[in-house]
Symmetry: D3
Subunit: 316 residues, 6 copies
């Protein structure tokens, strides 16, 4: 039995696995949970990240406005399902992740600059006052995802370098920092291997620490004659040398099958950005963008997912 | 209060704005209003234009047949919602607009020739007999849209030059003519500015004359990894020098959100081709192609739209 | 009245043409008939082929697994609508066709090799034991479709050469063999002619022998700004020189109009791979892949289709 | 014997055809005649046009500066071989042509605007004072070439519409104007037919009037795996309806064979922009850009060329 | 010491290796040996093949005419350096190879058809009367090269499938035939491995039989930002199973270094199409197209080349 | 009079500016100085860097071998013109720069890894023993160029992020490090501005310190229909905040005009990688790759170049 190392989250949202359902991840029955209706003047709200905060939950949400400008806003919820979003834009950019390290919440996101997108980094203690740090990369990079604690005394961030457009390739690398200002010791983590992710892979939620390694969900992309399809995979990384992949599922755990995932601004997208895990029950709630249009929720347990990864293991 | 300058159209179709709805344009609740079922052997009917005609309405419709040949047919209606289409093909081509000038109805459309598409021009008084004039352009151009009266003694037409394929760029220009045969004095009108229209813009319905300028709806295109998304924007042009943009909304007024706009031969298309305005009430009915599959209808008022443009004004 | 030359299939699935319906091919009302739910661990099941077998039906199904690996599995049915699929993968590859010649069932499919896809050939008498023959092509080719009997003493196969990607062109050729090992005497059959198939055409089901020629259904592709749309066309080929097209419909007979054809892993795909014909009644059941996601069923009669082809004949 | 209709040019540069040389066009032995050394701060001088002027010759030259900005400058010569260029830039843009009509010299060129290139039009009587007229096109067009007299009372200009980049297609059209302000009655003239010009064709020098029709030299482009190769072809157009091609050579008359044509900023370019013809002797001097780097000179006679066109006639 | 198995060719052209030259292949000092001047109306002559014939030599030459039509003509020579070409076009197409098998000369070439290029096959005994056989492939394939004797009772041909354009990939396959009509038993031979050939590889001259295997020269292509560069490599294939590569040089043996190889219609091309070997001396004369413009000649010996292949062997 | 801050290099190679020559940079009359003949088995030697070393000069050279593998080798010279290269490959990769900081020579180059190219960093004191440090970037980046001293206590490196191919864009950024292991504080330096560099710009030689700022030579790329052309530009950067451009020439200082720059593996390339400056005389020797084939040398003085930059200043 795999164990989650971390806090308990008693109010984690949950639905039991449907009877007869044979896969490790299942959808929330009332998806999507956040839509354009959650925020005036938004075109779509998706690819967003949430964390436990005080006695409830807080989140950073990608809102594409009716100008199709991309901004980050905050949101709050008592049950992590019904969210109240704040109209104030905290940063320009997209695909935010949020990661608590030692009581500080670090936001990483695809920051827009005049000269291309970089990995923006900011921190807050209250989701109101934000301090922006030096960006963690030069252009062009996306999918910067921090580990939730220092490893061997250093901050560690996954990153996916890319080009200026709808990049047709992508590997996950990671890098180290003593101070969140200077980064180095770049290491390769993973490339596309199987068909479902053959175009590119990129990091997803903040890794979940387990006794078997860092559990990471990530997105993989396959290209059809009609464009990209984004699905969600999973792997276990070494605790101390997290660029070493211990186990990795050969197949996706979630792919666009429902209409809200198949129809929207970008058809056929499942894009996970956050996963909250309750160390007591082993339950995990995964938040993912659906069709670049809304935020949806899925469930799994650490056992379900770790077992699946090991049974469908790419790493021999 | 903005005022429409022009005729009254007492029988203009109408539904009140839904309660609590905060945007300037809202959809007809029974959309789409014209589908492939309106014409035998058609694959799809969309991107079509209508005008008041005698005691009802007439229209020119883009019908793509089951050969996927593109033709223009006429249609008639007493309420501008329920349309009877005529199987006779009046011209080959697509994306027709219809514009009344001094009692004559001018059709402009993307005319197919052996050597590429041009702006075809034809006129009629009765929607039965059509006289074709010289094309208004050499290949390749699309989205030729006439102003509904001469300006400074000259006909004025907007036009969007393009390449031979699914052109990845597009600006709106306009040009002048004394006789609808020779055209010149080309002027730049607008380029893409904001994200929602970043790939290209093109003229839409015949401009509506108001006391604040020419109200134009137009389409803008954004490119995702899965292709183009077409939305509708709006601007006000100078009455006498209509290539001067007085005000222009920074955001779309209508974008593909409903399934009939998101699913079809070309997913995610809202493409306005006509707008009828009632000078008495200020009501405007916008006709747009949905997903390159059917014709849909939306409503606004001159106040709703002009106020929106000014509040979200790109022009400083 | 056109006549089918071949066996009777009393248990052929059937629904009468809906009243008032004016086209030659109509859909089964309970489509799709095979979905990802028919096979554990499959991502999608589509582009599959069936034949009468013993006192029921057997089929070869394209199953894309959750790895997005493409495999061929067998399936069996008593009514040709409800199918039981076998988890055992008989070959790697996709888009299988199955053709009975003299009591032997020949499978042709897009076989994956290290060096590109080829036309794989295998045979069976019982759908359990398969003998693989030499591939019928070098890389890269797809859509290898056998005729159901020797013609002038030789096996004949249609084939569509292509490139390594989502090939933007495609013609149908055919070739001859005395022994299913060596192939030659390549002949051109057809190219795209009309808009609905302008990007490429490829063979579909095993040809149906009629007194008017070989009735072939095939797929044609049109490219929009958002990718490919696949539809189904039909033609009649010369009985003795089957590379000669006697009649060919100018328009599609089936195109993606229903949601299960428009939404899925590849939106807007109708891809026919099998057609069973009952010589007694002239009824034909066409099996086609829908949106690269599921298998659907449509009906026609030899008269409906042959008449349509002749009335909408491209060949003058 | 074909006859040139027009002025005598006694001082036309000339070298006799080399003995044994069997083609209709031969090079000047001291090519190139104008290089970057003719103008300080120029990167290259090419694609330029000249005319008889007063008792010598004047020209408009494309000079790409060391910024690689493209400008038009004037030049003067007594022998049409040795040129003195004027550093003053008269217009921004490239590929100028110069055409005398009734004592006025009309310059047409690819004018740069903020919104793309158009056909600029300007006139002068002395090559010092220039009056710019309305551009003859909206963006994007190139290779605007005037006929040297009105035809049926109207100015006639050839034009090649294109896209915003290194356009991979191109046909020659022509258009009419009563006043050089408004243009219309667009007519197709020619498309690529043979391999040597398969990518695109565009007008070259001002047409030469002969008793057999308008003699036009033009450029054609073929695409190899290493880019474009530009060569020069020739045709005869109808005197009164100049969009009708009477005769057209099936092959080029000059192609990049010499090092100064094969090596330079753009390898493998022969791009004719001017041809002066002496009606007395039938001699023709053709000026062409070589490798986008320098100006070169070639010779022919009206007989040589007209005979060649007729003997190698594409038009049956 | 490697030995050539085959005829003696006493009059094989020859120059000794330049002193101090350290590579296995060296150029003829008077290159190129055939140019456009060898044939009236030709634009270029290159990629051509020669064989001993009667008491001298005969060849098949690719001539691109001034139309840029591609044709095959014959040529004859007493010394294999000075060639007289025959203006008569024997076939349309390009890149011919010529192979003697049992006293019959087989021509294979890239035959042009309405529907794409195929491997044309023809035979002659006298280079005057040619009998065309069935093409050896459907479209699109190039570089069909026969082995000079049957192997295990079957003709064997190498082939490089490709797409319709300047194909950006390419492997060498081979296939078997009992009768030069039907082909099958396709086998993979080689893919690009090293940088110098990374884009594609294709067969070159008729293989040379040696006691160590079939010695094949082939071309490999690397892509720079300015297009393709073609060089010549070499390998030894198994005598009985010639799809098995025994040894293969890791580097090119000849690449475009001289101006006549670097400048021309396609810069940077060395494309070998023939190699004549004298079994007595071990001398080999390689004929190659240079810059798609002319034919050049290089020398080696079987020892030089075989030793080089083994010393720089890719196969471990 | 601008002054170079740094060492004297009495043996710096030199030729006076040719009489009448009006540009700031002139070529060495015996170019190229290093060719493929300098190293056995090399295909080409270019894009190389040199520094004063002991009583002569040392260099790091890009050698592309006949496999077209790219390696770095060392070379030594007493006069900086005649070079002896060492066959031993010190690193895999290309485009090396060498920079002395406090008596240590730092090599930066485009290091090849399994997962793309990175900025490799190594150091030596003797050009024999090399210690490799952590790479300074994740993939993909090129043109990493160090400043020759710490600025505000930190190492500073220019870098040009790119994509995996022949990247069609490129800006110069810089970054800081306290230890050459961790990098951060990324700053934008410059983008393409003028036509001659419109596709991309990248850093060139180690910056030269002057009393007016850091003098940098860099390369800029323009794209023609036949590919890229590389030229050399120059700018002055702020001494303390070197991402601030004080002055920048609007035009190139050296572009491919000579045959050895226009003809070769990549036609039309001038690519500077090193510049040695003598503080006593103000003389500068610039080393640049020519046509991706050989190393060439050019001269200027700090006055010539600084004056030129200021007279042709982009920065207003």
């Amino acid at each position: 039995m795999a164990k989650i190392i971390g806090k308990e989250i008693p109010s984690l949202p949950w639905q039991d696995k449907p009877e007869g359902y044979r896969y490790p991840v299942w959808r929330y029955s009332l998806n999507p949970i956040v839509t354009r209706n959650n925020l005036y003047f938004s075109n779509s709200i998706f690819n967003s990240a949430v964390v436990p905060f005080r006695d409830g939950f807080a989140g950073v949400f990608r809102a594409d406005m009716r100008t199709r400008d991309q901004v980050i806003v905050t949101g709050f919820s008592s049950d992590a399902i019904n969210w109240t979003l704040n109209e104030k834009q905290i940063f320009k950019g997209y695909d935010p992740r949020i990661c608590e390290i030692d009581g500080v919440y670090y936001l990483t996101w695809v920051k827009l600059t005049d000269k291309g997108t970089v990995i923006g980094v900011a921190k807050t203690k209250d989701f109101v006052d934000w301090e922006e740090l030096e960006p963690a990369s030069y252009p062009v990079a996306r999918n910067g995802v921090l580990f939730p604690r220092k490893i061997n005394g250093e901050y560690v961030m996954m990153i996916r370098p890319c080009d200026r457009g709808h990049t047709p390739y992508g590997d996950i690398f990671l890098m180290h920092s003593k101070d969140m200002v200077y980064w180095g010791k770049y290491r390769f983590v993973m490339s596309p291997v199987n068909n479902w992710e053959m175009t590119k892979v990129g990091a997803g939620p903040t890794p979940i620490e387990t006794d078997e390694g860092w559990l990471v969900f990530y997105h993989g992309v396959i290209t059809s004659c009609n464009g990209f399809t984004y699905s969600m995979g999973a792997a276990l990384l070494d605790k101390d040398e997290p660029w070493k992949v211990l186990h990795r599922a050969d197949s996706y755990l979630l792919a666009p099958h429902e209409y809200y995932e198949c129809v929207g601004d970008v058809p056929n997208v499942v894009f996970p950005c956050a996963a909250m895990a309750d160390s007591k029950t082993g339950r995990i709630a995964v938040y993912y963008g659906a069709a670049d249009t809304s935020v949806a929720l899925a469930f799994t347990t650490v056992d379900d997912t770790v077992n699946y990864i090991k049974e469908h293991d790419l790493i021999k």
